[in-house]
Symmetry: C2
Subunit: 415 residues, 2 copies
Amino acid sequence: MMPRPEINGERLLARLDLFAAVGATPGGGVNRQALTVGDREARSLLTRLAKARGFSVFQDDAANLFIRMEGRDGSLPPLLIGSHLDSQPSGGRFDGALGTLTAFEVLESLADAAFEPDRPVEVVAWTNEEGCRFAPGCMGSRAFVEGKVPAEWEGLRATDDGSRFNDDRLATIEALAPEIGHRRLGFPVAAYLELHIEQGPSLESAEIPVGIVTGVQGTRWLEVLFEGQTAHAGTTALQFRRDPLKALTRGLAALYETVMPEKDDARFTVGRIAVTPGSVNAIPATASCTIDLRHPDTFVLDQLEEDIRTQLAGAAETESVSFFIRKTVDMAPVTFSEDVVAALQAAARTAGFKTRSMISGAFHDALFLAGHAPSAMIFVPCRDGLSHNEAEYVKPEDSVAGARMFLASVLELLS
Amino acid sequence: MMPRPEINGERLLARLDLFAAVGATPGGGVNRQALTVGDREARSLLTRLAKARGFSVFQDDAANLFIRMEGRDGSLPPLLIGSHLDSQPSGGRFDGALGTLTAFEVLESLADAAFEPDRPVEVVAWTNEEGCRFAPGCMGSRAFVEGKVPAEWEGLRATDDGSRFNDDRLATIEALAPEIGHRRLGFPVAAYLELHIEQGPSLESAEIPVGIVTGVQGTRWLEVLFEGQTAHAGTTALQFRRDPLKALTRGLAALYETVMPEKDDARFTVGRIAVTPGSVNAIPATASCTIDLRHPDTFVLDQLEEDIRTQLAGAAETESVSFFIRKTVDMAPVTFSEDVVAALQAAARTAGFKTRSMISGAFHDALFLAGHAPSAMIFVPCRDGLSHNEAEYVKPEDSVAGARMFLASVLELLS
């Protein structure tokens, strides 16, 4: 009888340290933005580790990296597990890397136990999940699901050094091409499973080590613009003012009081605000802001968006300013596969993990994969919910517990 | 008997056109920022016109330009009349120039009539009233009243080309030095009178051609900073948020509803607002804004500032964010000389002008001169109250009426 596969916690933690050194920042985080030298170094390191264990390695035209453990029947679609290796410019060492290295640890633990799965198991590191150097995020998983790299990305320019997406994509592929195989985008997948840090505080504050993610919130981004009339701050009496910032603060103050307090699952965030001309002693000519609105339910999203439009239009009318609103992102909520979620719940029972079912507030590659194969995610707690930050931190025992839960889930999905 | 001095309206309007061509912008305005080539060209043009009429011309160490008509007793302090020739980068052709050229027209009309005043009359063009290229504004009149160029200005850098204030000041002085005399800063002045466009809409909307300015509002500038905690827009539930922009909009919305509506003479303006890190999908870490607060009464200003501090501190506390506020400008209200104001009222009665007594909402050089000599101002209407804008416009008949009122006032002050 084969030994039961077991996570090697020390190996996983050592690997996290190893990858944290790639693109390390002085503040203890990492800067491995997509398709930069740091990102390529991380891909190369993972490739070397994989080949040293005898796994075959492939990449597709979106530079997604695949590490394959063969199954008894190599013609079956693989079980795909993984996450991403790219980071924010001042990113943490766990966002993406923890999920990718956990998936690789699972592959190694299967190999340690000489476990031979019925179908192939593949680890994937998706290209440009973060979307900060080239927008949009999740480019690798989007392209994979579409089956091609969208033509409109070809000429995109990087926000940091202005280099072209297509040049960086091809250079990244060419750097590894001599050593690894080529895969076509969008090959069939049996199921997709991803582990990620929660990037929120709920698991930590409830002291629950594992979140079973049953779906991803819908997200809408709105751009709001109020246009009034600039005028001298000292000479213009109230009745002559058409102040767009007054209208905007009035509208936003009302929305802050209603959107989230009334709908517990809603998320309403104004991340950018600006005025022109931006002079201390001039009434602004324009005031603008962004709104990030999320909710797990499309119907509620529709309602909330309508409320926002009505509230802001009313504030504009009251202040006699013009009002424009534009939707720049509309991502429908996704409900993950009931079968995969049930497998995760069964795995948690078997392995004895306390879990919480939850909706992901953030985008992940799994959101896109869910359109291609039955998918779900596992969350682990991170300190203070902090992410996209050099201070991002996951307790070693939580990383190892997450990996054990992930292994149990993979075994459940393979059974 | 000498002919009574009369304004030559055509000459004044032609002069306005002539100076509007100096630093003219494609949009019909002017760019004659302080101590630039355009500003020097305007000084040089006025000097040529003055010398052609036989007036003597002087400048002081702050590059303030003086044109002197001798009086019967040249040892008496002069009556000083004028304004400024510098402009905003996209300024209008009347702001400053109308007052300077009106004062020069008055000098010419006195000379046309061979009028010999008891005391000298001098036209002044103050240096850098606008304060946009080098802050603070009203440098020329400030230095004049202080009797020296403050040492802390020497190293100031221009906002446009980074050149040093002291270099530009000396170069401007040197350009005219061979042709004109030198005056010491802060010589005694009998009285100071300045004409300016209102830069607000009240005279135009009441169809009154002349405003008699009895004082200048007090102005306070506040810088407000709220510090919270940045976090992921999608994953952070309401109870975990410490959103500084929520606190700021709540505080501002309340202040917009109270400050100006409750105090008719108050002016409350937020001209700048910003958040960091400024990412669509991140709760801001900080939110900041400026506040420009004005009122003619120091006691009310104190009250309003206290209200603002209390209201904002309360909003910060409600949202559990830190709150900082700093006062960067505190200019006390100024009440102009009762004697000079009475002379203007008498002049208006004699000349048959309908007038309105008013408080200036904006700073002017007269605000500083009031600390040195009895001072007051005359306002003329401008279209839509628009100023600091290429579209700034004064009807020809209003320019000429203002000059007639100004001449009548000068004659009253000389009598």
